[in-house]
Symmetry: C3
Subunit: 343 residues, 3 copies
């Protein structure tokens, strides 16, 4: 059902420029949107797409409003505005409530919850109102899933772990597997340390496909409110991740590392164990973080790529960097002697 | 059932050298094959294994035929020849057609398809002829699986995603999870961007175990024909991967990056977002690709490993590389002065 | 049920110092343990926690016994001692034996085994005594699971793979998916090499959540006794991992690499294919191992991270390392000339 552009502005704020009666049926990218669609322009890099857009209306910043060939909604944060409108125009259809006859449910479940085919929910689990549990999920004994949370198919939550309200958990995610803790015998064999802690996850958290979060060893692994974890992230035992952190795909965090609030970590970065990362720290993709970070800011530790031939020439030098430094020191001292003697 | 060597040559081509009546029952590596087995020699590195092989016959290149102590099939591409013969000699046994009584199937399924135990297939899904769906798979509403495709156990395909014909999808793979898209509020909270695109996958694609492919944000994530993805690869939203690319395990590709045709990416490489990678580009294992690549060729960006003590000595210098460059520049200028003065 | 401290010492050895009648109900970290709990002190770094501990008793080394404000168990290896006591005090509750009515089991299963909801076990599989198979696991035709092994939910074991006794396999792990083997046609298309080997896994192995182990191409992939694999590890076809190796999360091992016994590999490290790694080799986190290693020892190949601005300054030099080396050589020769001339 289409909505009038003016109705969007009435609901979400911003300034309307142009025809408020324009009828909007959905959202689309600036360069492919049609007359019934709403687009946005946030990054000035895409400014030239604005001139040729066929979008019904565009959300943009005040400084770009003048350039718009069509109706627009003017707001200082077009992307954030777009996110809110998009959620409203493209709501996810929740499955109908009820427990599928093939599901094995060994606890009470509210009538508003939707429990999919072939699910298992163990004894003493607590399932909140309006929860959706997708096909083939496994919810262990005594685990908790907060109200409004949505687990897609094939998610595993181990016993006694806790997930807050309004979580979104994607397929294949595992919450509460044993941490990797072993003591070594003299002859090299490993003796398992029982992992008796839990995973405690706050509200409004999203967890990506095939992401794994280990339970704590003696204490708990803790994920704060509003944390967003992309796919294939590994969170080891006793890690703490502060509120509103966002971690991109393939990040690995070793045991007992604590990350402050509002941090971001780029894809494939690795954080070693027992570190403390301050609030508002931003780690670049592919960086190995081997020390604690006490100051907010951006941190990077990656090498440039180049053609393979150039790489062979340049990177073989890394084996001799110490020798190069020695040579420079020696050159400096010889030159100083010479300079003195020829004065 | 054994086949005569001459029968293999009649079917797959190449030149027969030696006894065409030799009886072949299977395939094996050159160094362990027995008299009834067919082996191959492709990499000249393993040439010395040829002299001692007990194989019934060997597939090899013309320049090595003379060295063979046994019957052989001579062809310019022994590995490719071997692949074709091996497929013929070791066909995978498809499960019998039919829907297992424990499966929950909410759409029509052809009689030739095999739907395993505890599977869920949602309404309006389209399942092609001869499809095999392994135990505990989940196929969302309106998703499509092309004819002859084989999904191993525990695969999740989200609603409205499309998989072409003759795909092989390994256990734990997830196709169509939400892309990682959020706008940030002033105080640091993240607002989800609905991910309304799909995943569109071509024909003859193989997808490894626990690989994840996110659906597009507004448009689609697109995987071309003949693409081969190894295990634990992460493909973010709006990525395009061109026909006949092959990506090794643990590769991560960030959002909106487009990869040309016939590219290869080594294990653990990370490609940042919004890049364009030309056709016929080959990225080495472990490389972080932070810029677009416009020319075909091999690209690398990794550091050598060494004993930990050598590493401590050499890599600590990286923190002072800029200072080293300054010192060299200063030495050059001082030396030039001195050279002029002592002329 | 509480146990007396003296009873622990009688069972596990070590020297008791202090009140053996102290009642112990569980284990806890040194800094948060209460009067009924047993803690340990292994790393001298945490020595100062000892003075203030409220633990009922502490396991520690002889040289620290004098500093203990409470009863203690003195042993040269406190962490190992703790592991054994913790296993005894915190045994995992095994589910009751029996086959859940929703499970689809096509082979014989011993009465002592516990087969969870919605499991599938194929024909000719061999399930040992006291095995636990969690919800939604899939065990392929002819696969073997040794006695006392515990598979958590959503584990996939492909046909004919073999898991030894007392294994622990976490959710989402995949054992026996096809290795990544293809021959390339002239025009770039890939032809699949059938993967006809198996995965053979020894006794006392632990496999982390979402870890994947590919079956061999022609021969088998082999994991030794006592090997511990963390989460999200990728083990490619034909890899051999020796007894008592421990690999941290997100490690990737390419095809046909052989790793000796008692090796450790840090998180996120990548080992290329066809390498031989000696016994007792320790690879640091994040290291790319591109060559074989013939000597025991510690090996590293990672770059330091720094503030993004410092990184820009220093790491851009890597593109010119070869030129820097040339400049140093030229400086050396010019300086030598000058030194000779001014003598």
């Amino acid at each position: 059902m289409p909505v009038r552009l003016a109705e969007i502005v009435a609901r979400f704020g911003g300034d309307l420029a142009g025809d408020g009666d324009r009828s909007i049926t959905g959202i689309a990218p600036l360069d492919s949107a049609g007359p019934g669609q709403l687009a946005f322009l946030s990054n000035p890099k895409y400014r030239q797409q604005l001139a040729n857009t066929r979008a019904g209306a565009v959300i943009l910043m005040p400084e770009m409003a003048r350039e718009s060939p069509t109706a627009c909604v003017v707001t200082p944060q077009p992307y954030l505005y777009f996110a809110r409108v998009a959620q409203w125009l493209s709501p996810q259809l929740r499955p109908v409530p009820g427990v599928h006859p093939s599901a094995v449910v060994e606890c009470d479940v509210p009538a508003s919850a939707s429990i999919g085919p072939n699910v298992w929910i163990g004894p003493d689990a607590k399932i909140g109102e309006d929860v959706v549990i997708g096909a083939q999920c496994s919810i262990g004994t005594g685990a908790e899933v907060g109200e409004g949370s949505w687990l897609h198919s094939n998610v595993s939550i181990y016993a006694h772990c806790r997930l807050g309200s309004r979580a979104i958990v994607h397929s294949g995610a595992v919450i509460g597997s044993d941490g990797f803790g072993f003591a070594r015998e003299a002859e090299g064999a490993w003796v398992k340390i029982p992992q008796t802690g839990r995973v405690l996850i706050g509200h409004d958290v999203e967890i990506g496909a095939n992401t794994t979060i280990d339970r704590g060893a003696l204490e708990d692994t803790v994920i704060g409110d509003g944390v967003k974890l992309d796919n294939q992230i590994q969170v080891a035992h006793n890690v703490h991740i502060g509120d509103h952190c966002a971690l991109a795909g393939c990040v690995g965090i070793a045991g007992s590392t604590h990350i402050g609030v509002r941090c971001t970590v780029g894809g494939g970065a690795i954080l070693l164990g027992h570190l403390h990362i301050a609030d508002d720290v931003h780690i670049s993709a592919g960086t190995l973080v081997a020390k604690s970070i006490s100051q907010p800011g951006n941190y990077t530790g990656t090498v440039p790529f180049m053609s393979h031939d150039d790489w062979l020439k340049n990177f073989s030098r890394l084996r001799h960097l110490d020798a190069m430094a020695d040579k420079i020191r020696s050159l400096e001292s010889r030159l100083a002697t010479l300079e003195k003697n020829t004065k």
